[in-house]
């Protein structure tokens, strides 16, 4: 659970640094319906995730469910990190 929260904080920090200061987001903020995520931010976010964690986000992973909020994204990354650790 601690790892998920840590990833959440990292993602929130990254997204906040990319958007207008007036927009406040939390782990449960709907990134899709709020319009916070645009195409370019999604690509930047994926690049950030792949450069920070040993996981790969494919185009087929870019679904409304996975990118709905930071909490879901963090859970997906954490699960992949677990698989990565087990495989190593």
């Amino acid at each position: 659970m601690g790892r998920v929260l840590q990833i959440q904080q990292d993602l929130l920090h990254f997204i906040s640094s990319q958007i207008a200061r007036s927009e406040v987001i939390g782990a449960e903020t709907d990134l899709v319906t709020s319009g916070i995520l645009d195409s370019m931010l999604i690509v930047d976010l994926i690049a950030h995730i792949e450069s920070t964690y040993p996981v790969r986000i494919d185009s087929t992973d870019i679904t409304p469910a996975a990118f709905q909020n930071v909490a879901r994204l963090a859970t997906m990354i954490s699960e992949r990190l677990s698989h990565h650790t087990q495989a190593a």
């Binding site: 990319q18 958007i19 207008a20 899709v32 319906t33 319009g35 995520l37 645009d38 195409s39 370019m40 931010l41 999604i42 690509v43 930047d44 994926i46 690049a47 494919d58 185009s59 087929t60 870019i62 679904t63 409304p64 990118f67």
Partner: protein
């Protein structure tokens, strides 16, 4: 006697290669460009995207709707989907839409082509564009070669490109090679909604040296603005829309209805599903409402 500029000119190696490409390709033109700028109320687009994303396997964004809307509008106005070869106008066989993909690794931008975009669902357009985005990310530009090789590349860009362009712009050729798709698109699309940019009031996309994509559609980020509806001032989300086309293939009297159709599709994207059933020969801006 005083010359107003420094001499000699900048060395080719001191400027980016795509500037050398344009320098080699372009001469001051007599400009047949026409631009139609307008605003689009995209408040409904947000609601539509929420509905679509509840069911879609791929995350659908406004950029994907823009591509699909352009394809639907071309289907209604096929006179847009043409190119010039020599001094003759040719019709494209299918509706291909070229789109600029911007990312941090390709500062000059990169273009991808969505083939038969009018026949794809919105989800298919999104899946294809995400796949192309991923391919772009996985294949970042190669680092600069040796200074000697960079000089050779720039020499070729300046002196060989005009020859290449003479062939592709004057002789009707089959679509071959890795750039085949790029020569098969009549329309280029930009979605410039990057955060922290100045609001887009006017934008004219540059023309490509090859005589394809004679029409460009550029949409900017939506902003909350006051609008008058039923004599009441209300807050709506408004996006700028610019369409650049070419007087050699269409008139303003044709460009206007195309822009009107495109604008309507962006305001009410659900109409695209009906418009796809209209045969091009029966098409017109006034037909959209009947298709809905």
């Amino acid at each position: 006697m005083e010359w107003p500029v420094h001499s000699p000119p900048l060395a080719d190696t001191d400027i980016p290669i795509w500037h050398v490409y344009y320098l080699g390709a372009c001469r001051a033109p007599s400009d047949p460009t026409m631009i139609w700028g307008t605003d689009v109320d995209v408040t409904g687009l947000d609601d539509y995207l929420q509905d679509v994303n509840r069911q879609s396997a791929s995350l659908v964004s406004p950029a994907h709707v823009l591509v699909r809307a352009v394809a639907s509008a071309i289907r209604l106005h096929p006179e847009i989907n043409r190119r010039v070869i020599g001094s003759r106008v040719y019709r494209f066989k299918q509706i291909n839409v070229m789109m600029a993909l911007f990312n941090r690794w390709r500062p000059g931008g990169g273009n991808v082509v969505i083939e038969r975009a009018d026949e794809l669902s919105l989800g298919d357009v999104a899946a294809e564009l995400w796949r192309l985005h991923e391919a772009s990310m996985r294949n970042p530009p190669r680092p600069p070669a040796s200074p000697r090789l960079e000089r050779i590349k720039r020499f070729a860009a300046r002196h060989m490109v005009p020859l290449y362009l003479w062939f592709v712009n004057n002789i009707n050729q089959p679509a071959l090679g890795e750039h085949a798709a790029e020569h098969g698109a009549g329309v280029h699309v930009n979605y410039i909604a990057t955060r922290n940019l100045a609001p887009l009031q006017m934008y004219k996309a540059s023309r490509f040296p090859c005589e394809t994509c004679l029409t460009n559609v550029t949409m900017g980020a939506a902003e909350k603005r006051p609008a008058v509806i039923n004599d009441q001032i209300v807050i709506r989300k408004i996006a700028p829309l610019f369409v650049r086309s070419d007087h050699r293939i269409i008139d303003a009297s044709q460009l206007g209805p195309f822009v009107a159709s495109l604008r309507r599709f962006l305001m009410e994207p659900a109409l695209m599903e009906g418009a796809a059933r209209i045969e091009p020969a029966d098409a017109g801006a006034d037909k959209i409402s009947r298709a809905a």
